[in-house]
Symmetry: C2
Subunit: 460 residues, 2 copies
Amino acid sequence: MSKPSLPQGTRDFSANVVRKRNYIFNTIRTVFELYGFQPLETPAMENMETLMGKYGEEGDKLIFKILNNGLGDGETIEKAQAKASKSRTEFEKVLEGKNTKDITERALRYDLTIPFARYVAMNHGQLTFPFKRYQIQPVWRADRPQRGRYREFYQCDADIVGSKTLLNEAELTNIYAQVFNKLGIPVEIRINSRKILAALAELCGGSDKMIDITIAIDKLDKIGLDKVKEELANRGLNAEQVSIIEQYLSINGNNTEKINQLQQLAKDNATAAAGLAEISFVLNYQPEGTAEVCIDFTLARGLNYYTGIIFEIKAKGANMGSIGGGGRYDDLTGLFGVPNLPGVGISFGVDRIYDVMEELKLFPDEVQSGTQVLFFNLGDAECARAFTLAQQLRANGISCEIFHEQMKFDKQFKYAEKKDIRNIVIIGSKELEEGTCTVKNLQSGEQKTIAQTELPSQAF
Amino acid sequence: MSKPSLPQGTRDFSANVVRKRNYIFNTIRTVFELYGFQPLETPAMENMETLMGKYGEEGDKLIFKILNNGLGDGETIEKAQAKASKSRTEFEKVLEGKNTKDITERALRYDLTIPFARYVAMNHGQLTFPFKRYQIQPVWRADRPQRGRYREFYQCDADIVGSKTLLNEAELTNIYAQVFNKLGIPVEIRINSRKILAALAELCGGSDKMIDITIAIDKLDKIGLDKVKEELANRGLNAEQVSIIEQYLSINGNNTEKINQLQQLAKDNATAAAGLAEISFVLNYQPEGTAEVCIDFTLARGLNYYTGIIFEIKAKGANMGSIGGGGRYDDLTGLFGVPNLPGVGISFGVDRIYDVMEELKLFPDEVQSGTQVLFFNLGDAECARAFTLAQQLRANGISCEIFHEQMKFDKQFKYAEKKDIRNIVIIGSKELEEGTCTVKNLQSGEQKTIAQTELPSQAF
């Protein structure tokens, strides 16, 4: 028998990690709901044709496909597996004459957007628009695992479809602010509009340059200005065009200063004016709290389907890439036969948020506590009494355990210590007789003997 | 482009279903934690060797296997897929000479017990025993889909390993009672001990008959006494033996009466006495509330690994099979090289619990409510004011939406109605000027105009 192991790029989450992750999920969920977003859950597996061709050639390769069970007429992959060890030919025979559809028809979801689009397309007759949904579920990608990159990870999305108003962008900005406020993470909410990038392409002489420019600018953080200029040149932009882009990228200052500089650079360009109007609208709905909304004209977001405002979240004071992002798109469900559904959505990067909160020590103490009270087990009758009292505490919402066996004091103390249980209740023969119990707080060391009837009203 | 669809046997859960399911999950989770169980999450996929051979031959066939991505030397299933439409031979060439391991090395988890065992075996050096974990996650089975049977469904398990005391069984009985009490489902908690069944086999002349007897008795509910007797005869039990089993199965009355009858039938049998001692211990820790703990000597539970107390839950007044079950086992992790870890666990059948709660109309009203307040959108300045007020309500935990566009009253009313939003707040030009707002409860029809400053203190 081999030593058991986990598939590469996957993780077990033990209790204290689950609790911290749930704290993040619950915070996000609560804020989504305060803004009227409703939960949706879709299955882990989708039909192959729902997923394939939606994420580009690279994406298609990273989709986990599921083997059909029962490979046709009585022959199954299981039989083949059983025989394969005996004879390779047997296995080949099973696969012989099969085409892809015989092998795999289903796959694990790669993100939450395509399943959402599939859901909206399938149910659009029944839905009330604008449709506001949030979805918090795992996705799977056959990426090469590396530090911070997993093959199974959660996505946390909120989208509004069927509405064009910028009020949505304003509300999503406020959702970001409110979530990170509650989590205690100081953030910059960086915004731009793809219309500004389109305007830049126009300034460079042609909107056909838009994709080249976007791809190059998107790398600014990683490769620096010189390399971006090089890449632009390689992509066929001339010195004058590169110079305009350089001027664009050097825009700086506060939001007002940036807007003024862009207006200087792009005067009389209608597309730029439209983009600036979008940004100004959103800036008019400034969130309360510590989150800062900053214009970042260098923000591009790789995905080509964005058409308006785009978002990206940067944690201040933590060495970490973006911990959230999103933007407006024109057409969610066209690929599934339901055209003209514009939308806007945001996403939270939970694994990175988790790491930032660990780095900045932001998880509240109470998130990390499991069992609150351990009753010592000191005899049959004593244990039965402990059980009755534990039930009373549980009815009051206090989590309790009764030590499982009658063992020596130090073993029972050790268990409390290892499991970080902060309060113990001792009922020995004397306490049983007197109707009392001894309560000890293991953190403060404080100890007192009280009537058993007083126990349920104690604070733990 | 084809009409999108869902894979057979899988489901989308829309908002009101998610909310009701979460109500069940949260109730179970809360009670698990009150008893000191800690959460664990394991990945959706496990290595093939972790799963295969653990669920019997039938089970192995129902495991969803995941195709390896990148089928060896530069050849990938994706390329094959691309080519397959052109030429079947191309695809065959890719698969040629491959054995099973080249095709699939990972699979989706089939239950939560084996991943738990794998986790304990991998981490047993670090864990504190007794180890109490709960796990609420989906599992996947390639069963033929039918009414009430899905290919993706949640399991909800709590187990204690590393402890032999019956106190665990007593606590698990109380967990069942407390959960169903909270959910409002009247239940019978049926218990038996596999030792009683072992004693029955001894009474029939040999413990080698145990499996035959268990399998036949397990079908009593479905096929009736006559067919059970027939099956026993077919399995080689003689008339005398069948008669003993018939006497056993006819034991009835309340718990005390049943115990007396069994003692009559099995007098001097030490195994029966041991089983009865287990049952009596558990009965001594009667739960409070409406749940009834009943001895059911006909309860067998199909799985062979149970060795002591076994449980099964029946909802009273609902036409539904068991909505929970579990029992004690001797050896969780032996298969993974860590022997001698006994344990006991229970499971909740969430899909069936959901159906029972729907049938008996047990979901509380508040579970089903989404957005609480809709602000009408009646102009730019009015909308901006509405936004400010909405933010104040959200800060108080009230979920709000602002209607997305300036539209006619009746459209905005209709949206509130369709989304079952029960309160609307109207700020028109007059209200804007006067600093007031009109609040209407759409259920009662009650309407009042108040100062905007009073809005945050309203009850919704």
